[in-house]
């Protein structure tokens, strides 16, 4: 994570410039546009949807038509409108989930890396324990303990992804701790927390940004997996995961049903991944992928 040896002119540029400036990358732009569309759906679902997403109607499992863009589901609800309204939940779950992971993971990583010693050992063993068994099992255990709900899924996503941020930040801290400017400011009597906030965190920021988008992508897939196991968000709220699961019951009667939620999940994960990769290429060109 050797951000420090970026070319000097890269170092000087602002984060914003590094993300958005320079030569346009068509794939990055395409994925940003898809994300933008989904974000608009999430922010203004009423504007984009054509029907009340939870309104039950007599037209069950209708194919796509002018009235129902993506057809209707088994309750006669408009699939398009449900997909649009579902976008918000996807962002809320993945976004807040990742936020929880960051709010816990970043301080843990900072403290572990900065303090070192037994504090580091204890915190890192905790991270190991989280990583030591498959995250989906852990997710199921948490949802079992708290009941299936939006909050549970956010918490689950939050907890299982703590190590991603904790380890990343800890590595940055370790790499930067011995850098000249840190040693210098320490010598000048700067306090620990000031050092963390002013120097270490900003330096780790690019890697964190990349991690946010990539983790959000995995969070969307985790939500879909939990929905498949019947541990998704409560009805009648539409999430893409629960819709995809429901659609699996009608492969013959309504083959189109599966497409809207499936493609939306696919595009969202794809765009988040691509966007994250693009960010990484711009912010952290030396870091190897994966």
């Amino acid at each position: 994570m050797a951000t420090a040896d970026l070319p000097a002119q890269e170092q000087k540029r602002s984060l914003t410039w590094r993300i958005f400036g320079g030569k346009a990358d068509p794939i990055l732009i395409a994925s940003a546009l898809v994300l933008l569309l989904f974000l608009l759906w999430a922010l203004l679902p009423g504007f984009f949807s054509t029907h009340n997403p939870n309104k039950i109607g007599p037209d069950l499992l209708q194919p796509p038509s002018r009235a129902y863009l993506f057809g209707t589901d088994e309750y006669g609800r408009d699939i398009y409108s449900r997909v649009v309204h579902g976008a918000r939940i996807e962002f809320v779950i993945s976004g807040l989930g990742v936020l929880v992971a960051m709010l816990i993971g970043i301080p843990v990583g900072l403290v572990a890396g900065y303090r070192g010693g037994w504090v580091d050992s204890v915190l890192m063993r905790l991270q190991d324990a989280l990583l030591a068994f498959p995250s989906i099992l852990f997710a199921i255990l948490i949802v079992a303990a708290r009941g299936a709900s939006q909050q549970s899924i956010i918490l689950t996503v939050g907890i299982i992804f703590i190590p991603r941020f904790a380890r990343l930040v800890r590595a940055s801290v370790l790499a930067l701790k011995e850098e000249d400017f840190v040693t210098a400011s320490r010598a000048m009597g700067a306090s620990g927390s000031r050092l963390l906030w002013r120097h270490i965190l900003p330096n780790a920021m690019p890697a964190i940004l990349v991690q946010i988008t990539l983790t959000m992508a995995v969070a969307v897939l985790v939500e879909a997996g939990l929905s498949y196991l019947g541990l998704g968000v409560q009805p009648p709220t539409a999430t893409w995961g629960t819709m995809l699961k429901a659609a699996q019951s009608y492969p013959q009667q309504a083959p189109w049903y599966v497409l809207a939620p499936g493609i939306c999940i696919f595009l969202l994960v794809l765009s988040l991944n691509t966007f994250g990769d693009g960010l990484r290429d711009r912010l952290d060109p030396r870091v190897r992928r994966l």
Binding site: P134, A144, A145, L221, A224, P251
Partner: protein, 318 residues
């Protein structure tokens, strides 16, 4: 080397203890109890309330949780993993009975992932920017973005229902019918292996690109070695070591995926066993399987690290 291994094993001990506490605590926090589950509808009959209490007592659910935990650890120390609350069989037996199916699924998907990602990853690195590369990268993006269960059900619809080439699901032990065993493995292994194949392919490609631009490769080229020989004899060897390491470390993620894929394909392995045990609140069975899975993953990771150290001596120093 031995010291490295020993220190890693020492480090693993607190991890395993933490996991055991985590699982024990989370299971006990979960509402719903195994006694009610076992009684079914009849648990609601007031005439059965006393029986329910007796059953809970018999299952050891009435003691305080820390006591229950210590009792469990005590039993573990004596080599007793406990019996399933549901069918009274030793949990170890239940777990080991399901293990071969899962191991086979993991190996199958690992094989698929490697068999697909190594040639394609190398090819797309060598032919960077060409159509082949783009197609491979398209597969990578798609493979990373598709929910596993959707992919699985789609493959079943195509290959089992429409084309009727492969059976839709179910596990047949290898020793019973090897050919049938392999036929049934194909779809689940592809489903589970796709994500890993995509991840490895991406990793291998960038790894390979980096290696190809390294000094010693340039030297080899300058010496007039044929391009094929440069790629296969020199570059690939160096690019593959980290890929195999990554593949080893991804076993955990693969096992996570197996939890869902086993269910899609009626592949009765430890993932399904554990999920079912969680739903049934079969505490001892959940504890045993999670413990075994955790220890298994730690061992695999350790072996991967050791192998990496052996293959790549520089690693040992740092």
């Amino acid at each position: 080397m031995a010291r490295f291994a020993a220190s890693r094993i020492l480090q693993a001990i607190p991890t395993v203890i933490l996991v055991s506490m985590l699982v024990f605590g989370l299971m006990r926090m979960a509402p719903g109890d195994p006694a009610t589950m076992q009684m079914g509808t009849e648990a609601a009959n007031p005439a059965n309330f006393a029986k329910l209490e007796a059953l809970r007592e018999e299952m050891g659910l009435t003691k305080p949780i820390p006591i229950q935990y210590l009792r469990w650890i005590e039993d573990l120390a004596g080599g007793d993993f406990g019996d399933s609350l549901r069918n009274k069989k030793p949990t170890v037996d239940l777990f080991l009975q399901k293990l071969p199916a899962t191991l086979e699924l993991l190996l199958g998907s690992m094989f698929f992932a490697l068999a697909l990602s190594i040639p394609l990853g190398v090819l797309s690195a060598v032919k960077r920017g060409t159509l082949v590369d783009r197609a491979a990268m398209g597969f990578v993006s798609a493979g990373l973005a598709i929910p596993g269960f959707w992919l699985g059900l789609t493959l079943i619809l195509i290959f089992s229902v429409r084309l009727q080439w492969l059976p839709a699901s179910g596990y047949v032990p290898f020793r019973e019918d090897p050919a049938e065993n392999i036929r049934r493995l194909i779809l689940p292994a592809i489903t589970l292996g796709t994500y890993l194949a995509a991840a490895l392919m991406r990793f291998l490609r960038s790894d390979m690109i980096q290696v190809l631009s390294a000094d010693y490769i340039r030297t080899a080229r300058a010496k007039g070695l044929r391009e094929k020989s440069v790629i296969f004899r020199h570059a690939m060897k160096n690019a593959l070591i980290p890929v195999l390491t990554v593949a080893g470390l991804e076993i955990g993620a693969l096992l996570g995926g197996a939890v869902i894929i086993e269910q899609v394909f009626g592949w009765s392995g430890v993932g399904w066993l554990t999920v079912q045990a969680i739903f049934d609140r079969d505490y001892p069975l959940v504890q045993t399987s999670v413990l075994f899975i955790t220890v298994g993953l730690i061992v695999v990771n350790l072996l991967t690290d050791l192998a990496y150290g052996l293959l790549n001596p520089r690693m040992r120093v740092s």
